[in-house]
């Protein structure tokens, strides 16, 4: 069910919040063993909160997310609820405070139903690096759900929750959304406060929603976005009222960068082209554009990310919280080691500074493109969901799987994954839209235009 449906049902008192939460909790209980999408479910807290909401006043009932069950990626701090980042180091960690995002969701009436699986420390694009086991793709349990927000994506795709929160450093929302056939939004860097997020690469990390529809995603983003004095990088510009004022389709130009269609799975290229045709029929203008080869971003992103990872994970000393550093597993060790190398004396300029310079080139490249187009459309991933085990012992698996989203990430731009069909094997395919800074509204508008025509979200996996 979508948030829109639930809100309308709750208004009409078709069921209570308690009944709603109970239904989702039993769906999780029925499917968790097969999918392993949750690390923690908060059954007691959720039911007690639901009971409280059922006796709430009319003011509370008007809250934008009143009664909506929501899952949170387990790298978001939740007061008094275990938060592991899917790492053994934090397996017993109970945060004494809520991340700003979590507090905003609670204040908007949402019911936290559990914490979802991820690659440990969000290091990966498969969930195979989780210290709590791999999450399975609901469309085919022999396939990966993508990652690192794989638990959140699988939970939404399998209707364990109507909506979930994920985080993305480069691809960790859009890629699992694509592989699981749902909408995933990576907002502009700084649009959503990172306070309380267990940091991966601080100059890139973003928090965003995974949902069935663009409308649901826009609703959740409007709740969690905004300035936060607790995050010095959060932006103070007012949050747009997404999808309230829409531009006419024939005033929107979509740019298609041909480099993003090279060397990708032909079925993905084909479905994305069909989506472009549908949008064109809806009236939008299509323009071919030149952008830098996305594969050049792999090196830039890898260096920036590894460097910042090594710095952020230096705080894991086992003194104030968590276990000691002997509990890091292979992927985190590899990343810390490479980041330590690229930041070390004698190599800093050669790697980190050089990558930051190349980052400027990508920013300029997008700026130039946005002089002639409003939004850019590309496939989200080079392949559909890969078999379980594909990422094992491949030190650059994620960076290669996420190559089509890395350029927009290093430029801090907002992006969205929109489902655009299925492969002949029945695996979901996603396309991404990229907009200029703070123009998430355009992503939702164009996404909705396409979605209304195709309604892929009505197709469900059988579990």
């Amino acid at each position: 069910m979508t948030i829109t449906d639930i809100t309308s049902d709750l208004k009409e008192k078709k069921y209570s919040v308690t009944e709603l939460v109970t239904t989702y909790l039993s769906r999780i209980a029925d499917t968790q063993k097969r999918l392993n999408s949750f690390i923690t479910t908060t059954q007691e807290e959720a039911l007690s909160r639901a009971k409280q909401l059922d006796s709430a006043d009319t003011h509370t009932r008007d809250l934008p997310l009143f009664g909506i069950p929501i899952a949170l990626k387990d790298n978001l701090s939740t007061k008094d609820i275990k938060t592991t980042a899917a790492s053994t180091i934090l397996s017993d960690y109970i945060p004494p405070y809520n991340a700003t995002v979590v507090q905003k969701l609670i204040d908007a009436g949402a019911v936290i139903i559990g914490k979802t699986n991820l690659d440990a420390w969000a290091h990966g694009s498969s969930t195979e690096n989780s210290d709590f086991g791999t999450t399975k793709n609901p469309w085919d349990q022999t396939k990966l759900p993508g990652g690192s927000s794989g638990g959140s994506a699988a939970a939404v795709a399998s209707d364990q929750v109507p909506v979930a929160i994920g985080t993305e450093t480069a691809g960790s929302i859009r890629q699992p959304a694509a592989w699981c056939g749902i909408v995933g939004v990576k907002p502009t860097y700084g649009r959503v406060s990172r306070y309380g997020l267990i940091a991966m690469a601080s100059s890139l990390d973003c928090i965003g929603p995974l949902a069935h529809t663009t409308r649901d995603a826009s609703l959740v983003l409007s709740v969690i976005a905004g300035h936060d004095p607790l995050d010095a990088t959060s932006l103070s510009q007012p949050v747009s009222e997404y999808l309230t004022k829409t531009r006419l389709a024939n005033t929107i130009t979509i740019g298609i960068p041909k480099k993003y269609f090279e060397d990708i799975d032909p079925q993905i290229a084909q479905k994305t082209k069909e989506a472009i045709d549908i949008l064109q029929k809806k009236g939008v203008m299509i323009k071919e554009i030149d952008l830098l080869d996305p594969r050049l971003a792999i090196s830039v992103y890898t260096i920036l990310q590894r460097s910042e990872v090594s710095s952020n994970l230096a705080r894991m000393d086992g003194i104030r919280f968590g276990k000691d550093r002997t509990n890091f597993h292979a992927e985190a060790k590899r990343r810390i080691m490479l980041g330590t190398y690229t930041l070390s004396s004698g190599y800093y300029d050669q790697y980190y500074t050089k990558a930051q310079k190349a980052r400027t080139l990508f920013i300029n490249d997008f700026q130039k493109a946005f002089e002639s187009v409003d939004v850019i459309l590309t496939p989200t991933t080079p392949t559909p969901a890969l078999p379980l085990g594909s990422s094992q012992d491949k030190d650059m698996f994620g960076e290669i799987a996420d190559q089509l989203v890395e350029p927009s990430t290093i430029a801090g731009l907002p992006g969205i994954n929109i489902p655009c069909g299925f492969t002949t094997e029945g695996l979901p395919i996603g396309m991404q839209l990229i907009a200029p800074h703070l123009q998430e509204d355009l992503l939702f508008q164009v996404g909705k235009l396409y979605e209304e025509e195709t309604m892929w979200y009505t197709k469900k996996p059988t579990l």
């Binding site: 017993d92 109970i94 004494p96 860097y189 700084g190 100059s203 004095p229 010095a232 990088t233 932006l235 090279e262 060397d263 990708i264 799975d265 080869d293 594969r295 050049l296 792999i298 090196s299 830039v300 890898t302 260096i303 090594s310 000393d317 086992g318 003194i319 104030r320 919280f321 968590g322 550093r325 002997t326 890091f328 292979a330 060790k333 590899r334 810390i336 080691m337 490479l338 330590t340 190398y341 070390s344 790697y351 500074t353 050089k354 930051q356 310079k357 190349a358 980052r359 400027t360 920013i363 080079p382 392949t383 559909p384 890969l386 030190d395 650059m396 290669i400 190559q403 430029a411 801090g412």
Partner: protein
Amino acid sequence: MIRYRIALTISLRNECKVSYNTSMHIDIHKLSHLAHLSLQPDEETHIQEQLEDTLTHIQMLSSIDTTTISPTYQVTNLTNVTREDTSSPSLSQKEALRNASHTKDGYFQVPAIFEKNQ
């Protein structure tokens, strides 16, 4: 699907015209000391190979000409973000210490740094 990734890597390498030598070498002991990680001997060999492989891959960066380009360290355009120097509600001492493995007299307890006779 794998074949696309392979094709992709090969075409990228050709495009970037990077010479791939095997001289990339990492001092794994020094690095693990700096990173404060203790590695088992078999782990050392494995991680060293993987790091050298990754470094070879990211040499593609050298094909990008950045001589006249300034670095971008953050993308928000924000500068000098400060707050009023006033106190505000914070965690209690009990809450702050809740997850610590060792505490003493209401403080974090850490391994000794100096010897007693120093």
